[in-house]
């Protein structure tokens, strides 16, 4: 599946600091775009439930909102730290870093 765009937002957490980024994969270095596409494919992102936060009683957790756009569909997933599957950790880490770098510029 050809991923065109990925939007990422992290809110909450102990510090309550929001970070976000909006990435067009064409604008990213090839290797990074490839990694993101692979991680999303691996997760079968389009099939993930929209609401994955099932842990309301976990103060100070982060809330992640990820929206992925392809030519054919757009899908948003909302998750917390504990409810995010292990497979999603690498993606979250990468998007966190990209969001922070973007904020700096």
């Amino acid at each position: 599946m050809q991923i065109e765009r990925i939007k990422f937002e992290r809110t909450g957490g102990f510090a309550g600091i929001r970070i976000a980024t909006d990435l067009k994969l064409d604008d990213l270095p090839d290797e990074q775009a490839h990694t993101i596409s692979e991680l999303l494919d691996d997760l079968d992102f389009g099939e993930l439930p929209e609401q994955m936060m099932n842990d309301a009683n976990m103060p100070d957790q982060f809330t992640y909102t990820i929206t992925v756009e392809t030519k054919k569909w757009e899908h948003t997933v909302i998750t917390g730290d504990v409810s995010a599957p292990e497979k999603m950790q690498e993606l979250l880490q990468l998007l966190n870093r990209l969001a922070r770098t973007q904020k700096k510029q």
Partner: protein, 381 residues
């Protein structure tokens, strides 16, 4: 010595509470009658103290900490690395989590006669080294979880140190546990901001108590030491001056308001629970500094009793103000300096309590308050 002791010097409140909450009906009645009957008290106190202390030991544990290592993975709790009574390890995060949860236990136990998070000796579990590059700490409903900050980034890019570095962060997380067992404040909008504020208040008090600082000496910062030298800021929040903790090109500016007129309406962060907590935080700071001395003694006591006995899951700022004002009267008397300080603290953040007339005398004063504190009398409201 024939000095007349106040009631809480004769039978420790935790003992009374233990009897009142865990005893048989007969024991409960005895505990209550013992407190009520001041004339008979002297004769009974020894016997009562003996049986209740024995019951206390059997019924509940004391301070029991276990520290786990997630080894940068995401499964909880991870591998046990240090248990209660064991010597320090070579891992500073492990030792900080161990010591910090101990200091938190001490504040609750020694000052508020609360035996751990649930009031019943619950084991304090903490996991360190959670995930990779995890700039956070949280309470998962059963335990504390700490990340190492930006350990995965080059030093020049790091913004956060490990989250165990700040004692008030540890006290903050454990207090989420206390709130979960007591007021059960919903983690959204104003009740959520109160939940956050309670954690900041007692987190700061844990630090102040450990350092034996007066309200005037304390820094009133949350997360001091957490930000690296790459960040323009001193901490994550300031109870003394909300909105001034950091102002940085990457992190942005501390968004906390100190007054209701600056209340932030947002959908993010569960309705700004980490933002609007600045308002009740600042009210507490004003009250504590107004009263002077150790903040955990009077202001902290008012807050603790309010959290334990009065706040409800859906309480808002105005409710909290009204209830702390009421608690101040219960503990220190109607129109007392303490109650006046509470009124002033809330007024300065834009919340009016008490009006111009004193509230009705609820009667009972200290004795009734103590009974409520130990759970032997019904909560007010």
């Amino acid at each position: 010595m024939h000095k007349r002791s106040p009631i809480n010097c004769i039978v420790p409140p935790h003992v009374l509470r233990n009897i009142a909450t865990h005893g048989t009906d007969a024991q409960k009645n005895l505990a209550i009658e013992t407190i009520k009957g001041s004339a008979q008290m002297r004769g009974q106190r020894q016997a009562l103290a003996e049986f209740s202390v024995a019951a206390f030991r059997v019924a509940v544990g004391g301070k029991e900490r276990v520290i786990y290592d997630a080894k940068h993975g995401s499964s909880l709790p991870g591998t046990v690395v240090r248990k209660e009574g064991e010597a320090p390890t070579a891992d500073v995060a492990v030792n900080e989590a161990y010591d910090g949860s101990g200091y938190t236990y001490d504040l609750y136990n020694d000052i508020y006669q609360r035996n751990s998070i649930d009031g019943n000796g619950m084991r304090l579990d903490s996991t360190v080294h959670y995930r990779v590059g995890y700039d956070n700490a949280f309470w998962d409903g059963e335990q504390m979880v700490y990340g190492d900050g930006d350990e995965n980034l080059p030093e020049s890019e790091r913004l956060f140190n490990r989250f165990t570095i700040a004692l008030d962060v540890i006290g903050h997380e454990l207090t989420h546990g206390v709130t979960q067992y007591e007021a059960k404040l919903t983690y959204s909008q104003q009740p959520g901001a109160l939940n956050e504020s309670m954690s900041d208040v007692f987190g700061s008090l844990v630090k102040q108590h450990h350092l034996q600082q007066t309200a005037a000496d304390a820094d009133w910062l949350i997360g001091q030491g957490l930000l690296t030298q790459n960040v323009k800021g001193v901490a994550l929040r300031s109870m003394k001056a909300p909105g001034t903790a950091y102002d940085d090109p990457v992190l942005g500016k501390d968004p906390q308001p100190a007054h209701m007129k600056d209340y932030v309406n947002t959908l993010n962060d569960n309705g700004g629970v980490h933002i609007n907590s600045g308002i009740p935080n600042h009210a507490f700071y004003i009250i504590a500094t107004e009263l002077g001395g150790y903040a955990w003694e009077k202001a902290g006591q008012i807050w603790y009793v309010t959290l334990k006995d009065k706040l409800a899951a859906n309480s808002k700022f105005q409710d909290c103000a009204n209830l702390t004002y009421q608690t101040a009267a219960d503990l220190f008397g109607v129109g007392s300096l303490e109650q006046q300080a509470v009124q002033k603290g809330w007024a300065e953040v834009g919340i009016t309590v008490g009006g111009t007339t004193p509230p009705p005398d609820t009667g009972g004063g200290c004795l009734e308050a103590l009974l409520r504190l130990v759970g032997a009398a019904p909560a007010k409201q």
